[in-house]
C-alpha cells in the first residue's frame, strides 16, 4: 500500500471514528441533564446506539437515570450489565492496547474509574433497597467492600468511598448487625479524616449511637469529645430517619492540547489530554425536620473524586499520548520525505485521529449527602426544601429505622420500607346537603384534592 493510500485510509477511519462516537453524544446529553431532567435525558440516550467499547459508560448513565426515576428493575439491569463489562475488562486487551497506542485512547473499552467501580455497587444497593430487597442491597455492599479492598493502596484513598461505607453501615443497621455497622461507619470516618473532609452530622450521630449501643465507652467518649455532641439513640416510641440525597450533576471531562518535548525525536510534539474544567459546584442541602431539624451534609464530593481519579492516571495517559505522538510524527516525516501530498494527508490523518478519552460516568450527582434524625414513630417528618411531609414511621414500618432517598433532579422521594400509598381524597356527597352548604364543601374538597396532588407529586 502506498503512503498516500495509507494516509487516506487513516483519514477516513479517523473521520468515521469521530462520527460514530457515541460518547460525544452522551456527554452532550449529560451537559443538559440538570435542565432537561432525567426523563428527557433518558429518552435522548435511548436513541443512541453505543459502540461495544462505550457500552459500559452508556449503561452506567442509563442505569443511574432510571434510578433517579424509580425504575428499579431497569436500573438494576443496566447497572448489573455495566458492572459485568467493567469486571471483564480487568484483563489487559492486546488489540485495544495496540489500537490505543497507535490511534487514540478512545479505542479502549470503557472500564470505569476506581470511583465508578465502587459507586456502581452503591447505586445498585440503593435500587435494591428501594425495591424492598434488603438482602440484595447487602450483597452489593459486600461486593463494594471487595472492590475497595482490591483498589486500596498504601497511603491513598483512591477508590475508597465514604458513601459506600456509610450506606453499608445503614444496611447492616437495618439487618440489626450492629458490629458490622459500626465497622463500616468507622471506615467511612477514617476515609473522610484521611481526606481532611468535614464529618457530616449523620455520620457523627451514627458513630456515637453505635459505640454507645455496643458499649464501647472509651471510643464513645473520644467521638463525643471530638464532635462535641452526645448520642441520639431513639427511646421507646421513637424511630430514626436516614436521608440519602443526591445533589446536582457531576462535571464531564473535556480535552486540552499540550506541547511536550520528546528527546528521542528532539522536538516538541502536541498531545491531547482529558481534563476537568474548574468546578463551581455549589451544594444545596435538603433538611429533615422532626422535633429537631438537620441539613444534609456531604459524605462524598464526586466532583472531587472524579478529578482525583483523572489526576491519578495523568502520568500514564501523558506517557501513552507522547509515545503515540512521536510515532505519528515519524510516520508523517517519512510520508513527507516521499511525497509532499502524502505528507499533508498523513499529517491531517494523525491530527484528526488524535482524541482524548473524555468518557466518564457523567450523570452521577455532584455530591452524595446524608442526614440522620430521630422522631416519635407517630410523627410525620418533613423534607423542608421539597415542601414534603412523610407519614410517621408507624404508618409504614415495623422497623425503628427508615431510609429516605431523594435527588435534586426530580420531586420524587422514595423510602425503605416503602412509603404507604397516599390516602385517597374524601369525595363530598352533595345529595344530602342543602344548597347553602354546598359552596363550603366544594371549597374543602378543593383543598383536599390540592393536598393530595402534592402528596402524589412526592
Amino acid at each position: 500500500m502506498s503512503i498516500s493510500r495509507l494516509a487516506l485510509t487513516l483519514l477516513c477511519s479517523a473521520l468515521l471514528l469521530l462520527q460514530g462516537c457515541s460518547s460525544w453524544q452522551v456527554n452532550q446529553a449529560a451537559a443538559g441533564l440538570a435542565v432537561a431532567g432525567p426523563q428527557a435525558t433518558l429518552s435522548r440516550l435511548e436513541k443512541i446506539n453505543p459502540s461495544g467499547r462505550d457500552r459500559a459508560q452508556y449503561l452506567l448513565n442509563t442505569g443511574v437515570l432510571k434510578l433517579y426515576l424509580g425504575d428499579w428493575s431497569g436500573s438494576r439491569k443496566d447497572l448489573e450489565e455495566a458492572k459485568g463489562i467493567m469486571s471483564s475488562m480487568q484483563a489487559v486487551s492486546i488489540t485495544e492496547n495496540f489500537a490505543a497506542l497507535t490511534t487514540n485512547e478512545t479505542l479502549r473499552t470503557y472500564d470505569g474509574t476506581p470511583t465508578d467501580q465502587v459507586l456502581v455497587h452503591v447505586m445498585l444497593a440503593l435500587g435494591y433497597l428501594m425495591s424492598g430487597d434488603l438482602d440484595g442491597a447487602r450483597v452489593e455492599m459486600l461486593q463494594a467492600n471487595i472492590t475497595m479492598k482490591q483498589e486500596s493502596q498504601d497511603d491513598s484513598t483512591l477508590g475508597q468511598l465514604a458513601s459506600a461505607r456509610f450506606l453499608s453501615g445503614v444496611i447492616y443497621e437495618l439487618n440489626r448487625e450492629w458490629d458490622d455497622a459500626l465497622i463500616s461507619y468507622r471506615r467511612a470516618y477514617q476515609i473522610m479524616s484521611d481526606r481532611r473532609e468535614p464529618i457530616p452530622e449523620a455520620l457523627q450521630i451514627s458513630l456515637l449511637n453505635l459505640t454507645q449501643r455496643q458499649g464501647f465507652d472509651k471510643e464513645y467518649k473520644e467521638f463525643s469529645n471530638r464532635f462535641g455532641r452526645e448520642a441520639e439513640l431513639p427511646g421507646a416510641g421513637e424511630g430514626e430517619w436516614i436521608l440519602v440525597y443526591l445533589d446536582g450533576v457531576v462535571s464531564s471531562k473535556t480535552e486540552s492540547r499540550l506541547s511536550v518535548y520528546d528527546g528521542s525525536v528532539d522536538t516538541v510534539v502536541s498531545v491531547v489530554m482529558p481534563r476537568y474544567l474548574p468546578s463551581y459546584y455549589q451544594p444545596r442541602a435538603l433538611t429533615l425536620v422532626a422535633e429537631k431539624r438537620q441539613r444534609s451534609g456531604i459524605i462524598e464530593n464526586l466532583e472531587t473524586r472524579a478529578r482525583e481519579d483523572l489526576e491519578a492516571d495523568h502520568a500514564k495517559i501523558l506517557a501513552a499520548a507522547t509515545v503515540r505522538a512521536v510515532a505519528k510524527y515519524k510516520v508523517v516525516q517519512e510520508a513527507q520525505s516521499k511525497n509532499d501530498f502524502s505528507g499533508v494527508l498523513m499529517n491531517i490523518a494523525t491530527v484528526v485521529s488524535e482524541q482524548a478519552d473524555v468518557r466518564s460516568w457523567n450523570m452521577l450527582p455532584a455530591s452524595v449527602q446524608v442526614a440522620r434524625i430521630k422522631a416519635p414513630v407517630q410523627q410525620p417528618v418533613q423534607l423542608a426544601e421539597k415542601a414534603l411531609t412523610l407519614p410517621g414511621l408507624s404508618e409504614f414500618s415495623t422497623r425503628p429505622l427508615a431510609l429516605v432517598f431523594a435527588t435534586s433532579l426530580t420531586d420524587q422521594t422514595f423510602a425503605y420500607p416503602e412509603l404507604p400509598p397516599p390516602t385517597p381524597p374524601v369525595v363530598p356527597t352533595t345529595t344530602s346537603t342543602t344548597a347553602a352548604a354546598e359552596p363550603e364543601l366544594q371549597a374543602e374538597a378543593t383543598v383536599e384534592t390540592a393536598q393530595q396532588g402534592e402528596t402524589d407529586a412526592h
Partner: protein, 195 residues
C-alpha cells in the same frame, strides 16, 4: 498467499461464531466460579440426605405415630452474590418430598393461592367435588437457613468460600432438632490477558 488468507479468515470467523452444545442437566460446568446450579443441587441433596438420616424423624414418628410434616421457611442469602435462593429451596423441597419420609406443606405464597381457589370452589364447584376450608395440614417442623460467603481476593486470584447453614425447628416448642452445614471452597484465577 491468497489461499492462506482465505483459510485464516475462515478459521478466524468460525472462532467468533456462537456455538451451542447440549449438555446433561447434571453435568458440572464452572465458568465464573460463582454459585451455580451444580452447587445448588449438590448442597440441597447432601443436606436433605443428612437431615433425613438423623434421629428426629424416628423420635417424632415413634411419639406421634405419623410422618412429620415439614415446611421450608426463609433461606436468607447473606453471601457476596445475588444467589437465586428459590432454586435452592426448590431443590430441597424436591429432595424432601421424593424421599417419601416426610409430608410437605406448601409455602406461604402457594397456600394463599390455594385458599383463593378453595373459596372459588365454594361458590362454583359441585357439592361432590368441593374441598372444604379448615382441613389443611399444619407443619410440625420448619426448615430455615442462610448462605454465607467469605471472599479473599488478591489481584487476579480469588478464594471463594461458601457456607450453607440450615436449621430444622420444631413448631410445637421451638426446639432445634437438626443443624446442618455444608461448605464449598473454590479457587478462581481470572485471565490476565484478553484478545
Amino acid at each position: 498467499m491468497k489461499h492462506w488468507i482465505l483459510v485464516f479468515s475462515v478459521v478466524f470467523l468460525s472462532a467468533c461464531a456462537t456455538s451451542v452444545e447440549r449438555v446433561s442437566a447434571d453435568s458440572t460446568i464452572d465458568l465464573s466460579g460463582a454459585w451455580n446450579d451444580t452447587d445448588s443441587r449438590l448442597v440441597a441433596e447432601e443436606m436433605i440426605a443428612d437431615v433425613l438420616s438423623r434421629p428426629w424423624i424416628g423420635d417424632f414418628s415413634g411419639r406421634t405415630g405419623k410422618r412429620p410434616a415439614v415446611i421450608v421457611g426463609t433461606v436468607r442469602n447473606l453471601s457476596h452474590e445475588h444467589i437465586n435462593v428459590q432454586t435452592f429451596v426448590a431443590d430441597m423441597e424436591r429432595a424432601l418430598v421424593n424421599s417419601g419420609r416426610v409430608d410437605f406443606v406448601a409455602s406461604r405464597d402457594d397456600r394463599g393461592e390455594i385458599r383463593d381457589e378453595r373459596i372459588d370452589q365454594d361458590l362454583n364447584a359441585s357439592e361432590g367435588t368441593r374441598n372444604a376450608a379448615g382441613q389443611e395440614l399444619g407443619a410440625d417442623f420448619m426448615l430455615k437457613g442462610q448462605i454465607n460467603t467469605i471472599i479473599d481476593a488478591e489481584g487476579k486470584e480469588q478464594v471463594r468460600y461458601y457456607q450453607v447453614d440450615l436449621t430444622l425447628i420444631s413448631m410445637a416448642d421451638n426446639r432445634k432438632v437438626w443443624l446442618g452445614q455444608k461448605k464449598i471452597k473454590k479457587y478462581v484465577k481470572n485471565a490476565k490477558l484478553r484478545y
